[in-house]
């Protein structure tokens, strides 16, 4: 997971986003153990305290849980994870709609364009 960070935002929130995306994609499954803080720090190329902070923040949100002496694990609360995934998706859609509105497209135009892009994408796939 090599990453370029936006240096103007806290790194720990950006790392948290990366982990949450991996969980949503299913790369990290419910109940899976997260890499140790040190391993993650070396892998991502940041300070271990930063990783620690992002683990703590994810724990506060209930995405992961820390078991004393064993490590940090993805929650087995599938409902919570699904909820989180939908929330992230909704945010992305809102961001997208906002940019499109700024370009002056109506909802109708946007729907048409999405349909069109989806078709072309499927065509190139087959």
């Amino acid at each position: 997971m090599s990453h370029t960070f936006q240096h103007s935002q806290p790194i720990y929130t950006q790392i948290m986003d990366i982990f949450i995306q991996r969980i949503c994609r299913g790369e990290l499954r419910p109940g899976d153990k997260l890499p140790s803080v040190r391993d993650s720090a070396v892998e991502v190329g940041v300070n271990p305290n930063t990783i620690q902070r992002s683990y703590m923040e994810m724990e506060r949100r209930g995405v992961v849980e820390t078991k004393r002496g064993q490590g940090t694990f993805v929650t087995t609360d599938i409902e919570l994870l699904e909820h989180l995934r939908q929330e992230l998706a909704r945010n992305q859609i809102l961001l997208f709609l906002q940019s499109m509105k700024q370009l002056g497209y109506s909802s109708h135009d946007i729907m048409n364009m999405i349909n069109c892009s989806m078709h072309t994408k499927e065509d190139t796939k087959s």
Partner: protein
């Protein structure tokens, strides 16, 4: 309690009226141009020089001389004996420092593929820098100080050294101060930043706070401070 406290510290004509404190912060970056007083500041913290005026406390105790059990100091110039082998260098460091962890040094030596039987003078510059870092990181003193550990090294070696610090400083009970002018490279590894300019303190702050409160990278903060 703070790790380091400076109270109105002056040192000759090098440092002027420094007052700040650093919490037990993990990895601390000391940034500044050449001649800004970084090395002098580190010598003062290590108890290797005394302030002309003011007080410096380490872990709440005023420091008046160098104490090996409190500080592991790695100076800027190369300090290994060229005629010693890697193994002998490790043994010497173990003999000099009661807090030296032999097993850690051995493990790091293998991890970074240093040949124990090679003499220091036969090592590349990068490997000598790694050996110095290993000898420092194998100490269990609460404060490790490394003066310009990255200077003059290639990018890959610098990255290895930064990884080594992130992985092997015992951040639960140790802090490390690293001086450098390579800000962009070290930024992600830092907890706390101290920024000196011409012997005066411009910034001493937690790095994530800087990003959060000012929406700026460390580099931006430095640029702004210099304008």
């Amino acid at each position: 309690m703070s790790l380091i406290t400076f109270e109105q510290v002056h040192y000759k004509k090098v440092l002027h009226d420094l007052s700040f404190s650093v919490p037990h912060a993990g990895i601390i970056g000391l940034i500044g141009a050449n001649g800004s007083g970084k090395s002098t500041l580190l010598h003062l913290i290590a108890g290797l020089a005394r302030p002309s005026q003011g007080r410096i406390c380490l872990n709440g105790q005023m420091i008046s001389r160098h104490r090996r059990e409190l500080v592991a100091f790695s100076p800027e110039h190369e300090w290994l004996y060229p005629f010693n082998t890697v193994q002998q260098s490790i043994r010497l460091a173990a003999g000099l420092n009661t807090d030296f962890q032999n097993d850690k040094a051995e493990a790091l030596m293998h991890r970074f593929q240093l040949d124990g039987s090679k003499r220091v003078e036969q090592l590349s510059k990068g490997n000598r820098a790694k050996l110095q870092a290993i000898l420092t990181l194998s100490r269990s003193a609460p404060l490790l100080i490394m003066d310009e550990p990255l200077s003059g090294l290639d990018p890959i070696t610098r990255e290895h050294l930064l990884e080594m610090m992130a992985e092997h400083t015992e951040l639960e009970k140790q802090s490390i101060i690293v001086s450098t002018h390579e800000v962009a490279e070290i930024e992600l590894y830092l907890d706390h930043l101290i920024f000196l300019q011409e012997g005066r303190l411009l910034v001493s702050e937690n790095v994530e706070n800087l990003r959060e409160s000012r929406n700026m990278s460390v580099l931006d903060v430095m640029r702004e401070a210099l304008l």
